[in-house]
């Protein structure tokens, strides 16, 4: 594994003003995550998990501190550069799948690729590969409303994979799924981590899901309260 960590947070804080009250979703948080890791991010609702994920994925910027991901200091990038950086390096998987309802599975997966300098054929190859990995090669031309929740989430994962990012950020990806579909999704994420070497951070409340990870981080009120290495017993 690469010596340099893929993610490094240096004394990161995030602050919101809500009326008179200040909300500190993240408070002076430092953290490193290694390349190829599979991290479960846990904690009660409102503890700052999503905020942390958004900072790492360059969707949001910290109030203080520095965020380094894939060797790039995100705090130095403009909004435009961040958008561009995102399509090359990270991909999000959401609890609500967040597919575009007017597009077919194929088109949804293709969407992020349209931002990259690829030919039609290259795009097609990427899309087919990604949909093959998630096992949906037979659902290319279905719209989201013609798919089950588990299938929708798999399309969303394929979309995340399409541009071949190093880092996958999943925010409660199994939260809306039944137990069976959730297991399938988790198995898929494990495969992506083991076989394809993706670094994965997954936000979850489910201990079973967390047990799959190499490492569990517990957040509470914006502060890391527990950092468990589960690699030995989990494997």
């Amino acid at each position: 594994m690469n010596a340099q960590p893929i993610i490094e947070l240096r004394r990161v804080s995030k602050l919101y003003h809500k009326g008179d009250a200040d909300i500190h979703p993240l408070d002076d948080l430092s953290l490193t995550i290694d390349r190829g890791d599979f991290v479960a991010l846990m904690g009660p609702s409102g503890s700052g998990k999503t905020t942390l994920l958004n900072l790492v994925g360059g969707l949001d910027t910290p109030t203080a501190g520095e965020v380094l991901v894939c060797g790039q200091n995100l705090t130095e990038l403009s909004a435009r550069e961040l958008a561009r950086w995102r399509c090359d390096h990270v991909a999000f998987i959401f609890q609500a799948y967040n597919l575009l309802p007017v597009l077919t599975a194929y088109q949804n997966v293709e969407l992020p690729l349209t931002l990259l300098p690829l030919t039609r054929q290259q795009r097609r190859a990427h899309v087919l590969t990604a949909l093959d990995i998630v096992g949906l090669s037979d659902r290319l031309h279905h719209r989201p409303d013609e798919l089950s929740g588990g299938q929708e989430q798999r399309v969303a994962i394929a979309r995340a994979l399409a541009a071949d990012p190093e880092l996958l950020l999943a925010d409660e990806p199994t939260g809306d799924l039944d137990a069976h579909s959730a297991e399938e999704i988790m198995a898929l994420l494990v495969t992506l981590n083991r076989q394809y070497g993706k670094t994965i951070i997954i936000v979850t409340h489910d201990p079973k899901v967390a047990a799959v990870a190499h490492r569990q981080l517990h957040l509470e009120k914006g502060v890391l309260t527990l950092d468990v290495d589960t690699l030995e017993k989990g494997a």
Partner: protein, 399 residues
């Protein structure tokens, strides 16, 4: 780009309604433009390279025929034709068998001189030869010929409200010898011309006088100068002249016909139509603006997704503006297309006798498309800017 088009298919009904709205608004707009254009056509068909000479006081007074020679000698004048307004009504039996009087423009004129003055008027050579060899002949515009159901060789009976024949009769008979057409969209195709010679010999009074001299000049830029020279030439004579451009003449002519009432009613109608049109355009604009804002609100989340995937604020802006533009331009295509089809291809004319010239001018088409584009931009700009400013994290939070 494909996303843009696909988004439009998401709510087909709403998309269609919006297109329909913009379409109807622009159809009305175009109709209005066509009508207004028809009002102005008489004025527009005028050419600054042509001058009209009439009696100084009014068109109802006549000028001596001897002036023709003097006017023709004026420096800068390249051609002269004489003309008298005939002011007659057609005497054709209508479909119900009763006599139907129809009003249209007739002039007694030197046909050959007239055609030299108006090269845009086309007459088939064989018909022209027939016309020139028949004292009783007349030349009809293609449109009025069609309206009266006349063909070459038919007889045409008119009742003049001004001129009586020597026997005191106001009924005049003609043989339709030729029919003219023109490529000029503004040239009136509902006129009737007949030889001045026959008119002058047959009329009971006024022999040797002319209502109007029409001239062509060598340089439109000198129309003012040449007019002054002519009018100065006849100053202090018993028949002083007033020379003006064809355009100015047509303007006063409309008024002199005694059609003030018609004119006022037409203007009134035009104003009302304009108001209705404006109201409709505004309503449609609001409706479509609202539609687009609504759809953007619903789609806040999707814009968040796009941004999370790596779309920049600029992409999102263009996407929404593009959608609004495509919608309104599709509407324009429908509305303007239909109007164009009606006016320019099917020649649908609600009042052919009021509007001898009825078509949708190109500028109006451009204006309509412009209105549509502006509508699109205006209605798209708010949601587009909102979506652009929106932060992905906020958008995704709003479930």
């Amino acid at each position: 780009m494909r996303l843009l088009l696909l988004n439009l298919t998401r709510k087909p009904l709403r998309t269609l309604l919006t297109i329909f709205g913009v379409g109807v608004a622009l159809l009305l707009f175009c109709f209005l433009e066509t009508v207004l254009n028809a009002f102005n056509a008489g004025v527009n068909m005028a050419d600054a390279s042509r001058l009209f000479v009439q009696h100084k006081e009014s068109i109802i007074f006549e000028l001596p025929m001897a002036y023709r020679q003097l006017i023709a000698q004026t420096e800068g004048v390249t051609g002269v034709a004489t003309a008298c307004w005939f002011g007659a009504l057609s005497q054709e039996p209508g479909s119900d068998g009763k006599k139907r009087e129809e009003f249209f423009a007739q002039f007694a004129t030197d046909i050959e001189d007239y055609l030299r003055l108006y090269p845009e008027v086309q007459v088939p050579p064989d018909q022209l030869a027939e016309l020139l060899s028949d004292q009783m002949g007349c030349l009809l515009g293609a449109k009025i010929a069609q309206r009266l159901g006349k063909r070459v060789g038919d007889r045409l009976v008119l009742r003049s409200t001004i001129w009586t024949q020597r026997d005191g009769s106001s009924i005049w008979e003609f043989n339709v010898r030729a029919i003219y057409t023109t490529d000029s969209p503004t040239f009136d195709q509902t006129m009737m011309l007949f030889p001045f010679k026959r008119f002058d010999e047959a009329r009971q009074f006024g022999q040797g006088s002319v209502g109007l001299y029409m001239l062509s000049i060598d340089d439109p830029g000198r129309s003012g100068e040449i007019s002054s020279v002519i009018d100065a030439r006849f100053a202090n004579s018993p028949y002083e002249t007033r020379t003006m451009t064809e355009k100015a003449f047509n303007l006063q002519f409309v008024g002199m016909l005694g059609n003030f009432q018609l004119l006022l009613r037409s203007i009134g109608t035009a104003v009302v139509l304009t108001m209705i049109g404006t109201a409709v355009v505004l309503t449609m604009l609001l409706v479509s603006a609202n539609t687009m804002m609504m759809s953007a609100r619903e789609r806040t989340r999707e814009m968040g997704i796009l941004k999370a995937i790596g779309f920049t604020d600029g992409h999102v802006f263009l996407l929404l503006i593009g959608e609004a533009l495509v919608l309104s331009l599709l509407g324009a295509l429908a509305g303007v297309g239909l109007a164009w089809l009606l006016a320019n291809v099917l020649h649908f004319n609600p009042k052919p006798d009021f509007f001898p010239v009825f078509y949708l001018p190109q500028e109006s088409i451009l204006a309509a498309v412009g209105v549509a584009a502006v509508t699109g931009l205006v209605s798209g700009i708010v949601p587009a800017v909102t979506a652009m400013r929106l932060k992905a994290t906020e958008a995704l939070r709003s479930v």
